[in-house]
């Protein structure tokens, strides 16, 4: 059976199974709905999609990835029993989206008898594809390692999540939570082997299981939560060469006959948590929380290869290794909220986190060592005061200190280096709500860092956010906001040379939106500007000039509009349009326009016809440009 046939067969099987499950659930619920007063609302839709892609299909697959065929399949319903069944359940909800073999599938099921139980299940599958052409042919120069990106992947991430909340007694409840995800698929990566870069296969094969159980008991003025969390994770991690290759730079003698690098590992962690919530008087709200996590990772490694080095010398490798790393983490948090009076309240928090990681391993009989211990202690306090019923202001201070002991080395135990970093800052916020139609918010937050640990850490941070909102009686909503963030590292005094760069990163966001909603018409539209600027001062290290200027600028303009209009009970139309234009260091443009018309005919049957156009352009080189026309036709039924 060919790959395409197998894919179709898999998708067909998935579709059939989904239909069976969905219809089974719908049928059972509807048949149980014996009371005419029960509320059952929902819709079912199946259909066909036609797709025409022009240009770089790989980038289309990365961005949109919708395929042609009978792929439209969705079910949504909400059931609220009123009759006899209402003693057992208050609500059942069920959603299936994109279950016709699309790369993004979601299934959600939720049923509850509030005050007794709540059960939820959610499954999602998402296909991730990445393949990029980032370098124009004229700039490819393997001698400078300027070949482009060899990384690619095409894998499925499947997530399952189930939770059950049981009310054992009016004061006691028990919660179960299970989640898992798997990642399976193909991928490629690159490795430097004997000073030559080779593109190699790197399949994706992971599975992760997590289980939580929590017990909560409430008293009149307190509650206690005990929670256990278990994680179990496995990664097959293998890299191999499917056949012999000369490498990316054919100008030298490099050759690789075979290559296998396996590093499978397993990780498990156990977390124990206790939380206490106290309200000794109505003015007080206190939360105390403590958590301990023990994580352990075991892995092994082996490498076998043979080939010729860039200098023409044959080589072989056959080495093995092991690793065992543990990480113990302790969290302690205390939070207090106190209502001074009807106008003022105090909020405070204290936290401490100890994370101690140590491990060792071997590689080709060479011992490897790892040690990372961090201790973070923080304190925060603030006050919120209502100047009037319309104006509320908040302000506070924050202080945090962190100590890092670290060392990692080969051959011999590492020498441990200790670094201490402190952070102090304040925040101010205000809200003004004149009348009931206007609302203004402002927030200012700033902080400074003393002796940041890594070169990537800032020495200061400033964030300002302003927002205005109007909700008019005629159904019109207006909203405008600005967010500015500046982080910078000016650790190196002016004129002084060192090995650390000074850098500055600015990010400004501006948006304005309008919305209008009446029964038959729903419209919203908006404009956003996101301006990013990263600049690095590299004049370091004995005054040597920068290797090349490092400056990234991006002006991203977004315009979007959304319209839904119901002409009458039978006819409904909708349209979405989003235009994205990015100027600056990486100039690109993408337009995405969708429209549909839906007809509801006698008895609740639906006919839906939709069209979508996507147009993507990389303005500088155009290697990844594509456009796509997508047409969908579907029939359905609405309860």
């Amino acid at each position: 059976m060919s790959g395409a046939s197998m894919t179709f067969f898999k998708r067909g099987s998935s579709l059939l199974a989904s239909v069976a499950v969905a219809l089974g659930c719908v049928t059972s619920v509807v048949s149980a709905s014996s009371d005419d007063d029960d509320e059952l609302t929902g819709r079912f839709r199946v259909g066909y999609r036609g797709v025409s892609v022009g240009g770089e299909e790989g980038k289309y697959q990365q961005h949109v990835n919708l395929d042609q065929g009978p792929r439209i399949f969705e079910i949504r319903f909400d059931y609220v029993p009123v009759g006899a069944l209402s003693d057992k359940v208050d609500r059942i909800s069920f959603d299936i989206d994109h279950f016709g073999g699309d790369p993004f599938e979601t299934l959600r099921f939720d049923m509850a008898k509030f005050g007794k139980y709540r059960f939820g299940y959610e499954r999602s599958k998402s296909t991730y594809f990445y393949q990029d052409i980032i370098l124009p042919a004229g700039l490819v120069d393997p001698s400078l390692d300027a070949e482009g990106d060899f990384t690619s992947f095409n894998f499925d991430r499947v997530r399952d999540h189930a939770s059950l909340d049981l009310t054992l007694a009016p004061r006691a409840s028990l919660n179960f939570d299970f989640s898992r995800y798997t990642r399976h698929g193909d991928g490629t990566t690159q490795l430097d082997i004997q000073r030559e870069v080779f593109e190699l296969e790197r399949p994706v094969d992971e599975k992760n299981n997590e289980f939580d159980i929590a017990f909560q008991y409430k008293w009149d003025k307190a509650s206690l939560v005990l929670q256990e969390h278990v994680r179990d994770y496995e990664n097959a991690y293998e890299i191999f060469l499917p056949g012999g290759t000369l490498g990316t730079n054919t100008d030298n003698a490099s050759e690789l006959s075979f290559f296998f690098l396996d590093q499978p590992y397993a990780l498990e962690s156990f977390q124990h948590t206790v939380r206490a919530n106290l309200t000794p008087t109505p003015q007080w709200l206190i939360r105390l929380s403590g958590s301990v996590e023990n994580l352990n990772l075991d892995g092994e490694a082996s490498e076998r290869s043979a080939g010729v080095t860039f200098a023409g010398a044959p080589f072989t490798t056959d080495v093995e290794g092991l690793r065992d790393i543990g990480r113990d983490t302790i969290w302690v948090d205390a939070d207090v909220s106190y209502l001074l009076n009807e106008r003022a309240s105090l909020v405070g928090g204290l936290w401490r986190r100890d994370a101690n990681q140590s491990g060792d391993g071997t590689w080709d009989d060479t011992p490897l060592f790892n040690l990372w211990d961090t201790t973070t202690t923080g304190l925060e306090g603030g006050v919120q005061y209502a100047l009037s019923t319309d104006i509320v202001v908040t302000g506070g201070l924050r202080y945090e200190s962190r100590s890092v002991d670290h060392g990692q080395s080969e051959d011999e135990p590492p020498s441990v280096e200790t670094r201490k970093t402190t952070h102090a800052g304040f925040f101010l916020a205000g809200q003004w709500s004149p009348g009931r139609v206007l609302d203004f918010n402002g927030e200012l937050e700033t902080g400074s860092y003393d002796d940041p640990f890594t070169l990537a850490a800032p020495t200061s941070r400033l964030r300002l956010r302003l927002r205005a909102k109007a909700k008019l009686q005629n159904g019109v909503r207006l909203d405008a906001s600005y967010t500015g963030r500046r982080i910078e590292n000016d650790n190196r005094p002016p004129g002084q040379l060192s090995t650390t760069p000074n850098w500055e990163s600015d990010r400004d966001s501006l948006s304005a939106r309008i919305g209008y909603r009446k029964k038959e018409l729903d419209f919203s539209g908006g404009y956003s500007l996101i301006r990013v600027n990263h600049a690095v001062d590299q004049t370091v290290s004995a005054g040597a000039p920068a290797l090349f200027p490092i400056l990234f600028e991006s002006d991203a303009n977004f315009i979007d509009a959304r319209l839904r209009y119901r002409f009458d009970p039978q006819w409904r139309v909708g349209a979405d349009a989003r235009w994205y234009d990015n100027a600056g260091s990486f100039a690109i443009r993408r337009n995405d326009v969708r429209a549909y018309v839906e007809l509801t005919v006698t008895g609740g049957y639906l006919l839906n016809l939709g069209y979508r156009y996507v147009d993507y352009e990389e303005k500088t080189f155009g290697f990844n440009d594509y456009d796509a026309n997508i047409v969908e036709a579907s029939i359905g039924y609405a309860w």
């Binding site: 509850a112 300027a146 430097d192 952070h423 809200q431 709500s433 370091v540």
Partner: protein, 387 residues
């Protein structure tokens, strides 16, 4: 003097003549002879108590008006002592002769309602609490599921709505809760649901569910529970049409965080549009998200899904382990590959590692550092992340 006698007659005789007219009031016992339902319900009401009768001289007619004419001709509707003959203000004034309504808001009164619009005057068991009270509220507020915003105008509009929509509270977590569990007459206005006061009201029951909300950035900005939650209808009403490209939880975030949501329109992004993720997949709106600035091991949120990038490594990349994934990546979306801060990987790396070994000097901005440093998140075999 000739007018003195007629004047005396007028002053003395007329009152006598007038006093001879029948009293327009009759005793309450006369009323309940016919109005038997009211008699039965009134029996348990404070309005049947002696205290009331001592204050209200005319019993039933203290509120309804004189009833003698009605007694004399019960068939004549124009003679019935109805409260509807009075304005709402006058009706309210009758109650205020005995009652103090200082704890009540003006919103309902401004909408043309009076005390009896909500309070059952005759029956004590049908006040504003319990199921009967709810029914009384819902009789006007049946479209409460549509909006939490009851302005004066909207209250009036709802009151006169010809075909009110069914109230769906029985399908929500608040099923079985009385209106008055949350709404008190002293603070019905919308303002009381905003800010600290509104949150306090919800926290009466939910305080131990979200005890750190007051330390969150949302509380700091003055938001309350109802800024995001639709208390009456739950989270799944009238959103069945597949119209929005965002998940339900994320839709409520758009209103305030439009710019952040726009970031998911970038060509490189997390899968919010496809419904695979919600804003709440990473952000907890009830918690102080920005509290830990320094942290250490700040990659743990991302590690929920990207375990392979954050598992303990023998050789850790300090920026990733200590400062967190956002040292290099923009989590919402970016025009750059792999959600990096820079489109050029070399720019990304050299923005920190300016003191790389000398042979790196031959590389350009087009060089992909990860072609050699392929395990940049951490390695178990090589301290420079070469494998």
């Amino acid at each position: 003097m000739k007018h003195l006698v007629p004047a005396l007659v007028f002053v003395v005789v007329l009152p006598v003549l007038l006093s001879a007219q029948p009293d327009p009031y009759v005793g309450s016992e006369m009323c309940i002879q016919c109005h038997t339902p009211e008699r039965e319900t009134l029996a348990g009401s404070p309005h049947a108590w002696d205290d009331f009768n001592a204050l209200a001289e005319h019993g039933c007619q203290s509120c309804h008006g004189p009833g003698r004419a009605h007694v004399q001709d019960p068939q004549d509707e124009t003679l019935q002592p109805s409260r509807e003959r009075f304005t709402a203000a006058e009706r309210r004034g009758m109650c205020l002769e005995c009652h103090d309504d200082s704890g009540h808001d003006e919103e309902h009164f401004a909408a043309g309602l009076d005390c009896a619009s909500c309070h059952a005057i005759h029956g004590f068991d049908a006040g504003v609490t319990g199921a009967a009270g709810d029914a009384r509220c819902v009789s006007c507020h049946e479209s409460a599921t549509e909006s939490m915003s009851f302005s004066t105008a909207s209250v009036a509009a709802i009151s006169t709505e010809a075909e009110p929509r069914p109230f769906r509270s029985h399908g929500t977590p608040h099923a079985g809760q009385a209106c008055s569990s949350c709404h008190t007459l002293g603070s019905l206005s919308e303002q009381s649901w905003e800010g600290r006061a509104g949150t306090e009201r919800c926290q009466t029951c939910h305080g131990q569910t979200h005890p750190r909300f007051f330390a969150s950035s949302h509380a700091r900005a003055g938001l309350s529970c109802t800024s995001c939650h639709t208390v009456h209808s739950g989270d799944r009403v009238d959103e069945l049409a597949p119209d929005s490209y965002l998940g339900r939880a994320s839709q409520s975030c758009v209103e305030c965080h439009a710019s952040a949501v726009s970031e998911f329109t970038f060509n490189e992004r997390h899968r919010l549009e496809e419904g695979i993720m919600e804003c709440t997949s990473c952000h907890n709106p009830h918690e102080p998200t920005q509290r830990v600035r320094l942290g250490g091991f700040k990659d743990q949120l991302c590690a929920q899904c990207h375990v392979d990038k954050s598992a303990p490594f023998v050789f850790e990349h300090g920026a990733s382990l200590v400062e967190g994934c956002t040292s290099c990546h923009v989590p919402h979306g970016s025009p750059n590959r792999h959600l990096l801060e820079f489109q050029s990987v070399a720019d990304q790396c050299y923005s920190c590692h300016v003191s790389a070994p000398g042979f790196h000097a031959r590389f350009t901005s087009q060089t992909l550092c990860t072609n050699c440093h392929s395990t940049i998140h951490g390695s178990n075999l090589h301290p420079a992340f070469l494998k």
